[in-house]
Amino acid sequence: MSDVESFRAQARAWIEENLPASLKGGGARGLTDEGDSYIWGGRRAKWTNPDAKLWLERMGAKGWTAPTWPARYGGGGLSAAEARVLEQELAKAKAPQALASFGIWMLGPVLLEYASEEQKLEHLPKIVRGEIRWCQGYSEPGAGSDLAGLRTQCVDMGDHYLINGAKIWTSYANYADWIFCLVRTDNSKKHEGISFILFDMTSPGIETRPIKLISGNSPFCETFFTDVKEPKRNLVGKLNGGWEIAKRLLQYERQNISSGGFGAGGGYDLPDAAKDYVGIENGKIADADLRTRIAAHKMEAQAFGLTVRRLQEEAKAQKGPSPATSIVKYAAAKLNQDRTELLVEAMGSQGLGWDGDGYKPEEIMAMRGMLRAKANSIEGGTSEINLNVVSKRVLGLLDHQ
């Protein structure tokens, strides 16, 4: 038995032993009081199902919430091959994700690259164990696509920094313990006047206000900083050197939010919905026009899935991402928007519900999912910005001279 296969046996046995019975077999919902199926952890977590807490603690202790991070920072220390095996075994057991975390997806990788040893030792283990929940302080009301136009001031007061300003689209800032935040430390330059800093959301002077979205949910906040004092050791990297870190983190963000196609795989499968709501004639979806568009979409989805897999394989072989990865976010956003629109269309008037008795839960979810998906081409860099990036960095086209 190869090392990897012997690891598979160990992993399977461990999961069998440690995955709480109530979480087995998938479909777990309402694990926390936020009513969703994710385990976000953090100091403020309220556990409606204590098994979810147990599962996080067990996985966190193994470091398997961040399987490839070095063990000295609390990670699993696994090879890429072992990590894939672990993922496969967790999937087989239909185990819920032990920790959903911007700390793992986005912050951790850049800390590993840019932070001081002290900072790594302070923050990474708590991320792995889900003790600290992080949010992202990037966008500002006047700085969306033009992120580097941000204006939140961070002034060096000698023994501390003083922070004033406002952020927007801070995901779950109202639940987060700490924030990783872009601030302006030099007003005389644009990109070179930005720093990357971490701080505790319970610091005095921070206020969060959830933003209600068109889908009815409030996953984002406006976040205000008024004379917030933070220790200077929380600056990551160099003073005024934050833009490089910011860009790297955005790469991780785009990879993470799009490589799964914004969850395009889940939910009511389109052809099934069309069969149920439109009907079947001679074995085909009765509306030939809709059937054609569903087929075209499913083909796009398969092409996308094959592309994500191909790019991963190429990246592995070449020890670095292909330039083509920059198309993934754009393609994923479009795909998920098309999927959710087609699902609503397939359901007819039953897809047009907001709430109430007249609609089944999956019908309401279809509409809200469509509305939510409109953000896919905005969040983490708009599709327009993605296309600019492809045309400039990949295709070598220039700006007006």
Partner: protein, 352 residues
């Protein structure tokens, strides 16, 4: 804009002024947030009727002005611009049009003057499944079964019911009629109506003629909705700055805006032609109505999506109007047949 008569021009200007000043989107937002079960404000409907809009397709002898469908379409376009919620389409255009078209003198005497004065709200009940499919209605003159997603069905005092045996008029308080008010995404007054051996009165208007009025009228409303959504977006392109530039200076957005404008103009021609054809009693009403509704559905789908996208994050917030336009768009797109239905119908009408 079609070449209008003086009367039509005055009415349009009045409707535009009223919609923009008295019934802007903030009014619709208030209505939505109030949880009003009718899906519209009865006082507002009364006000609209007082301006004569409820009687535009009703002959003068029955208390209307008899100005015709194109004229009512002009008003619908203006109220559609600001998402004004009212039974103008279902009552003043569809039901009044159906009765004017096929009602006996007694039926006209009974209903048309009251519709014109705004004291009767009427609804049009067609579909029995989640998709528009008027060719295969199961309900017969026995009037038993469920009609789904009936616009203004919750508030209606009168229901025009489509069956395999033709149209029927059913009173809102008829025995055996029960209603399930729906919470649709556009916060209008849709309801499922269940009929248990309900008594109705036959109305001898052809279903297709009534449906084509509904489609053309709804297309006019959608044209207005798309026009205002486009204008709001265009304004944003002219005021929002990123990278030190107004975002409307970015050529990729300019070309998308120009394409939307092209679609707006093409759709306008179809909507106006369909309405005018109805007034003329032309032979090509079916194909023009399908053309208008299909084009309006595609247009509003495109413009409502671009409205959100071009506004960026702010367009995703409930506080901004983009979401309200998007939500109304999806409902209007599907009602009385979406683009897919009408493409198929158009091809069938043209013999291929």
């Amino acid at each position: 804009m079609a070449v209008l008569t003086e009367e039509q021009t005055m009415l349009r200007d009045a409707a535009k002024a009223w919609a923009q000043e008295k019934s802007p989107v903030t009014q619709f937002r208030k209505l939505r947030d109030s949880g009003n079960a009718d899906g519209f404000d009865r006082a507002v409907w009364k006000e609209m009727a007082e301006m004569g809009w409820a009687g535009i397709v009703i002959p003068e002898e029955y208390g209307g002005t008899g100005l015709g469908t194109l004229t009512l379409g002009i008003v619908l376009e203006e109220t559609g611009r600001t998402l004004t919620a009212s039974p103008l389409l279902s009552t003043a255009l569809i039901a009044a049009g159906a009765i004017a078209l096929g009602g006996t003198d007694a039926q006209k005497q009974e209903w048309l003057p009251r519709i014109a004065e705004g004291s009767v709200v009427a609804a049009f009940a067609v579909d029995e499944g989640p998709h528009h499919h008027p060719g295969t209605l199961a309900m017969t003159k026995a009037l038993s079964g469920t009609k789904r997603f009936v616009a203004d069905g919750g508030a209606a005092d009168l229901v025009v019911v489509a069956t395999a045996d033709g149209l029927f008029l059913v009173r809102g308080d008829a025995k055996g009629l029960t209603r399930q008010v729906l919470h649709s995404v556009d916060s209008r007054g849709f309801a499922n109506l269940t009929f248990d051996n309900v008594e109705g009165e036959a109305l001898s208007a052809p279903l297709d003629a009534v449906l084509d009025r509904a489609r053309a009228g709804l297309a006019a409303e959608m044209l207005g909705t798309a026009t205002q959504a486009f204008e709001i977006t265009l304004d944003y392109l002219k005021t929002r700055t990123q990278f030190g530039q107004l975002i409307g200076t970015f050529q990729a957005l300019q070309h998308r805006a120009a394409k939307m404008y092209t679609e707006l103009e093409l759709t306008r021609s179809c909507v106006e032609a369909a309405l005018a054809a109805i007034d003329k009693g032309a032979n090509d009403v079916p194909q023009l109505a399908s053309l208008a509704k299909a084009k309006a559905s595609e247009l509003l789908h495109l413009v409502s999506n671009e409205m959100v996208q071009m506004h960026g994050g702010i367009g995703m917030t409930d506080a901004h109007d983009a979401g309200l336009y998007l939500k109304r768009a999806r409902v209007a797109e599907a009602l009385y047949g979406g683009a897919s239905f009408h493409r198929d119908r158009y091809a069938g009408l043209m013999g291929y």
